[in-house]
Symmetry: C2
Subunit: 451 residues, 2 copies
Amino acid sequence: MARPMLLNAFEMNTVSQSSHGLWAHPRSRAADYNRLSYWTDLARLLERGLFDGLFLADVLGVYDVYGGSAEAALRSGAQIPINDPMLLVPAMAQVTQHLGFGITANVSYEAPFLLARRFSTLDHLTEGRVAWNVVTGFLDSAARAMGRPTQREHDTRYDMADDFLQVVYKLWEHSWADDAVLRDKGARVFSRPDRVREVAHDGPYFQMRGLHLSEPSPQRTPVLFQAGSSTRGLRFAGEHAECVFINGRSPAGAAEKVARLRAAARQAGRRDEDLRVFAGMSVIVGRSQAEAEDKLADYRSYIDPEGELAHFAASTGIDYARHGLDEPIGFVQNNANNSALESITTRSREGAWTKRDLIARMSVGGRGPLILGDPQQVADGLAQWMAEADIDGFNLTRLVAHESLEDFVTLVVPVLQERGLYKRGYGEGPLRRKLFGEARLPDRHPARRAG
Amino acid sequence: MARPMLLNAFEMNTVSQSSHGLWAHPRSRAADYNRLSYWTDLARLLERGLFDGLFLADVLGVYDVYGGSAEAALRSGAQIPINDPMLLVPAMAQVTQHLGFGITANVSYEAPFLLARRFSTLDHLTEGRVAWNVVTGFLDSAARAMGRPTQREHDTRYDMADDFLQVVYKLWEHSWADDAVLRDKGARVFSRPDRVREVAHDGPYFQMRGLHLSEPSPQRTPVLFQAGSSTRGLRFAGEHAECVFINGRSPAGAAEKVARLRAAARQAGRRDEDLRVFAGMSVIVGRSQAEAEDKLADYRSYIDPEGELAHFAASTGIDYARHGLDEPIGFVQNNANNSALESITTRSREGAWTKRDLIARMSVGGRGPLILGDPQQVADGLAQWMAEADIDGFNLTRLVAHESLEDFVTLVVPVLQERGLYKRGYGEGPLRRKLFGEARLPDRHPARRAG
C-alpha cells in the first residue's frame, strides 16, 4: 500500500454543522448532539471502520450577518447552539482504543497557559490520541462576546497565533525533560527538580514565565491541524501544521492547493512528507447507484435554504437578505475556509452571480464535492481524488447522523480494503506515530526549537 | 431521616493532593492519576457507595515559596504535576448515572464567555450533575504564568469574582428562555429566535455582549460551591454559594464557621437551608480499632515532611526553609483555606510556634480532623460532627487511593444506613434537585435576578 488513505469524520458539537436542515431528517440523531450517547456511539462506529480520527470543528460566536440578526441561524440550528468540543473527547476515549481526536481551539480567545494544560491532560487521558486544529476565528460576534468591539485584522490574528504557539511549544516541549518524572515509589521521588524548568516568553502578544503544570504526555505537542487558505494562512500552515484540512471542488483545484501547501512547508525548512492533507468530502453510498440517488433526493428534500444563507452570509460578511434574487452580488471573500463557499468564491472571481445562483446550488454537502454511487463507484471516486489531488485522505462531512457514516463503514470500507487502499487494522501507539511513524515532532519542527 | 448525611470524595487531578508522601504507598494508585481508569474506577466506587459527589480541587501555579523554588514540590509531587480537572468528568459521567461532579475553576484567569459554555456543555453531557467550585487563586506563580507580575489583591479578586459571576449568570439564566428550543423536526425549527436574546454586561472587570452559545442545560447554572473563609470570602459565599466546603479541627470550631456562613446567607436575603456545608474529613476505618490503628501507623510511615513543608509554605507565604527548627515563627495567614493549616493558624494566633511544632504535627490527613476506628466508631464520630457542627456532610480526603474510600464504602456506609443517617438509594434528577429539591436555582438567588 503506497499511500494508505486516511479518514476522519468531520463533526461539530452542534445540531447542524453544514447541509443545514438535515438534522430534521427522521433518521438523523443530530438533535441529540448534547447527549453522551450520540458521541460514544459515533466513536465506536468510527473505530469499527478503522477511521484515523474524529475531527471536531468549532466556532465561537453566532451567524448574525444575514438579515442583521441571528434569527435564521437560530431557527435552522445553523451552528447554534454549539457546545464545547473538547469535553466530548474523554467520554469517547473511554469507549475506544485507537481513534484519534482533532479538537478545534481558538488562539484569539484562549489563554495559552491554560489551553496547554488542557491539551496535555487530554493527551495523557487518551494515551496520545489528540490533535489540535489551530484557528483564529472569523466572527465579530465572538469578539463582542469576549469584550472586544471587533475582531483583530486577519493577518494580525495569524501573528498572534504565531506568538501563542511559541508559548505552548515552550510549555509542551521544553519545561520537563524526558527523564524528569521518575515515579519512584521506593525512593519516594516523583519528579527530579533538576530536570524541570520554568519557561519564559516575552512576545508581542503574550508574556509569561512558569513551569508547565503537566508532566510530558505521550505526544507532548498534540498533532497540529490547520485549515487556513489565505496567503498568510498558508505560510502559517507551512511553518506549523502537520495535518491540513482543505476544501476543493475538484481534484485539480485541490491539487493546486496541495502544491502550494507543500511548497510552503519546504519554504519553512520542512519536508513534503511532514504534511498530511485531508480534503473535505461528502459521500452518499447505496448498495446500487439507484439506491444512492434515491438517498440523495430524500436528503436534499430536507435542505433548509435559510440556514444555508445564514451560514454563507456570516462566512462571507455579505447580508444576502438585502439582495433581490437576480441582483448581481460582488466579490466574495471566503473568510471561514468554508467548503460551501468554494464554488461561490470561484464564481465571483469569474464574474457576476446572484442569490438565485446561490439557492440553485444548495444541496447536500454544501457546495463542497459529493461522491455518490454504489460502493465500487465511491471507491473509484475517492481513489481518483487521492491520485489526482496529491492528498492523503478525507474529512467526511456529517450528512444524516450517523446513518451516512454507518453506510460508509459498512459498504465502502471493505471495498477500499480489498483494493489495498485502506488499512486492515490500526497501527500501534499515539496518533502521531500512526500518522508519521514517530510519537514526537521531528527536530525540524519549530516546536522543538522553541525552547 | 431528619438531615441525611451528604458525602463527597475530595480529589484532585494530581499525584499528591495532601498527606504528601502517601502516593508512594505500595497499594496507592495515585501515581496513575493521569490515566482514565484511575478516574472511572473511582467514579464507579463512589456511585456504589451512593456518594453525592466527587469534588475536584485544583490549583494553578506551583508551590515555589519553600526554599525559594519548586524543588521540594516537584520531588514530592505536592500538587505538581497537576492536570485539568474538568476533562475527567465526561469519562466518569459515562460510567455512572447519579454521581455529581464538583469542578474547581478559577475566575482570575478563565474567560467568562468560554467557561460558561464549558460548564453548560458538561451539564448537558452529564444530564445535570455538575457543580462549580468558584476560586480566585492564591499563588503569584499562577499570575506570572498568566502574564501578570503578581496576583491581584485578595479583596480585589473577590470583586472580580462578583463581576465574573454576573456575566455567567446572564449567559446561563437569561439568554435562552425555557421554551426557546423546540427541536421540532416536523416544522423544521430548532430554536425560536424570539425566545433567545443577547445579554450584555458592562462591569468593572468584564464587558461583553452576546448570546450564550449553549441551549439551556438541566440545571442552567451549575451547583455553586465555594470555600472562602476570609471576611470578604464569607460575604461572597453568603451571596452566591449553595455548597460550602469548610475546614475545622473540631465540631465546635466548625460550628462557629457554619453559623457565620448561614448568617452571611441571611444577610444576602437567602435562607439557612439554601446552604449545604461540607466539612473536610479524613477517615481511617478497620474491621477493629486495632486494625485501623495499624493502618494509620502504616500510612504515617509514608508521610513526606518536605512535601508538607512545600505545601504549607505556599499556603502561608512563609519560607520555612529559612527557619531553624526551634526558631519562633510569626503570624500565619491561611491564604489557601487549607485544612492542613487550621491548627497552625490557630496556634499562631495564640502565640509563638516553631518548625519543630510543624513537623511534629505532620500526619495523615494533614492537620485536618481524622476519625479513626472500627465502623461503629467512625459512624459515631461522623454523627457527632453532624450534630455538633450543624454541617450537612463531609468532603472525604484522599489518603491511599482508592483503598481508603473502598474501606469507607464497604465498612462505614452500611452502618450509616442502618442508623438511618445515610440514604439507601439516589434521588432522581439533576444534582441540585438531589441536594435541594429543585433543578433550578430559587428566585431569591442572585443568578435569577442578573438579567
